[in-house]
């Protein structure tokens, strides 16, 4: 039986599942976040075997399965690899609130890195004004607002 009959009442019980977390960043992400927060620097990690530079920094290169320990300072500027304009109010799980649509969202490959970082783009959400290949620069939040979190990067600014 799959049809709901009109005269049958069904009760639906609302439950708010609220689970608090406190995530441990660990060795690699802690160093990344501290550099971001304190020095406005973005670090990647280099695989000793395939030599690719990865962001975020992590303990193992998934492709070579070797431990990574060479830190590489990345440029604050990079190239847009892919983008989208979000017309849908995605929920931000860290705040529980939706981002206001529309907003531009893109993948920027920072110079010196082999993988892009996804973030908000500070550019009018207009298809004709955003192109793959455009250059962007990291906009850090003011020092007093930074708290050791990816949101310490406010967004990427287009480079004129």
């Amino acid at each position: 039986m799959s049809e709901q009959t009109v005269d049958q009442e069904y009760i639906h019980v609302p439950i708010l599942v609220d689970v608090p977390y406190r995530f441990d960043a660990g060795k690699y992400m802690t160093r990344f976040l501290v550099e971001l927060r304190d020095n406005e620097k973005i670090y990647g990690i280099k695989c000793p075997s395939c030599k690719r530079v990865m962001i975020p920094p992590r303990i193992v290169c998934a492709r070579c399965h070797v431990k990574c320990d060479e830190w590489v300072e990345l440029s604050n500027e990079g190239t847009l690899e892919a983008f989208t304009i979000m017309y849908f109010p995605m929920t931000d799980p860290t705040t529980g609130k939706p981002h206001d649509p529309p907003f531009s969202y893109g993948s920027v490959k920072l110079d010196g890195c082999d993988a892009p970082i996804d973030h908000m783009l500070n550019i009018e959400p207009d298809m004709s004004k955003i192109k793959v290949g455009m250059r962007f620069r990291v906009k850090f939040r003011p020092r007093e607002e930074r708290r050791g979190d990816l949101a310490d990067i406010e967004y990427f600014d287009p480079i004129e």
């Binding site: 689970v19 608090p20 406190r22 995530f23 441990d24 660990g26 992590r58 290169c61 998934a62």
Partner: protein, 382 residues
């Protein structure tokens, strides 16, 4: 059955109430690196399957195995996650190798209980409308189980506390345990009460850590080590969910799981045929119940068995020489830790907690409240 499966390596992180120095993939890699180094095996050339145990809600990560894909070698390879106790990784890993699909399987279990709230997580495991809204968690449900079990069989308060005395004492000989000490029955009973009759020293403490292991087909195992430990029997079973549907004074699911594992391993009399047991006692009273479910004594005689001293480290049926879960082992990791301990016992590598001439070991792990799901693994030197 002619084909067999062996454990060829096992490693565990140090366990502690909080490993805030490492995220869970870093914890996982600590133990993965150890088992690979010890065996000389590599992800690229040797390991052809991996199985992990964790829960999204514990990790706060949707599809929690995403976080260990890189370190377990899952990139462009197979990995499957059991959202259950770690013992089920050995259970399913054995099945997968017996299927003929794989030769060498890397197992991993990891949890950082410090990152969230155990009572909320456990409450979310209850059916949402009839049970969850009462605020039940594993501790309150476990307390109902303890009271019922003690009432039905006339189990005495001190008999339950003796499990904690034994296990916390045993844990002092286990270098990875963090909850240990030599206590009296009074110390246990007088520790802060969580939900009567369960006191703080009778509950497995919040713990962070990980365990890794390598399972091998018979052919592969013999090439890797002269000292493999064989998985000779496996069994599992579910009990009912609603507490009202269960006979809380016994564990039908454990009897079934143990029966299946014993039949496969050819164990007729576990008291005589098995040299050492590692069981998953989230609460002290459960160890007495698991004695009964595993056939170490008759129903209701768990209290007498602990009184007899036979399950002490130096007894003839040693149970939890590692200190068990009370010694401090993370949820989900628990069963894989128990298997790792049994592995060390059978290899004669258990150090100060080594049981004499251990040839056959039985491990039991549980998932869900009051042991709703049980998994039993029989291990042997031969």
């Amino acid at each position: 059955m002619t084909d067999r499966v062996a454990i060829v390596a096992a490693a565990k992180t140090g366990f502690s109430p909080s490993r805030s120095d490492a995220n869970y993939s870093e914890l996982a890699y600590e133990v993965i690196e150890k088992v690979l180094t010890e065996t000389g095996l590599t992800i690229g050339d040797d390991i052809d399957n991996s199985i992990s145990c964790s829960h999204d809600i514990w990790d706060g990560q949707t599809i929690s195995n995403i976080g260990i894909t890189d370190v377990i070698g899952g990139h462009l390879r197979n990995e499957e996650k059991m959202a259950m106790d770690g013992s089920t990784a050995v259970y399913y890993g054995t099945i997968a190798i017996l299927s003929g699909e794989y030769n060498l399987t890397l197992l991993l279990a990891h949890t950082k209980m410090s990152q969230t709230n155990r009572n909320i997580v456990n409450n979310d495991a209850f059916e949402p409308i009839f049970s969850r809204k009462l605020g039940l968690d594993y501790t309150s449900a476990g307390a109902l189980q303890a009271t019922r079990y003690m009432h039905v069989h006339g189990i005495q308060r001190d008999q339950v506390a003796k499990v904690a005395v034994k296990n916390l004492g045993n844990a002092s000989r286990n270098e990875t345990a963090h909850n240990f000490g030599f206590y009296s029955v009074e110390d246990i009973i007088e520790s802060p009460v969580l939900a009567t009759p369960i006191t703080q020293k009778e509950m497995a403490p919040d713990t962070d850590g990980a365990v890794a292991m390598i399972l091998a087909s018979e052919k592969a195992a013999k090439k890797i080590t002269k000292n493999p430990v064989w998985v000779n029997g496996i069994g599992s079973s579910y009990d009912a969910h609603y507490l009202g549907d269960r006979d809380l004074a016994m564990s039908r699911a454990l009897e079934q799981a143990a029966g299946r594992a014993y039949a496969m391993a050819g164990i007729k009399n576990p008291v005589k045929d098995v040299d050492v047991f590692e069981v998953g006692e989230e609460f002290a009273h459960q160890e007495l119940m698991w004695y009964e479910g595993l056939g170490l004594c008759e129903a209701g005689k768990g209290g007498e068995l602990i009184d007899s001293g036979r399950t002490l480290f130096e007894g003839d049926i040693p149970v939890n020489p590692s200190g068990g879960l009370l010694g401090g082992v993370p949820a989900n990791v628990a069963g894989l830790h128990s298997v790792a301990e049994a592995f060390l016992q059978l290899r004669g590598e258990a150090g100060r907690r080594q049981v004499k001439d251990a040839g056959v070991a039985v491990v039991q792990g549980q998932s869900g409240h009051c042991g709703q799901h049980h998994c039993v693994v029989v291990l042997g030197r031969d």
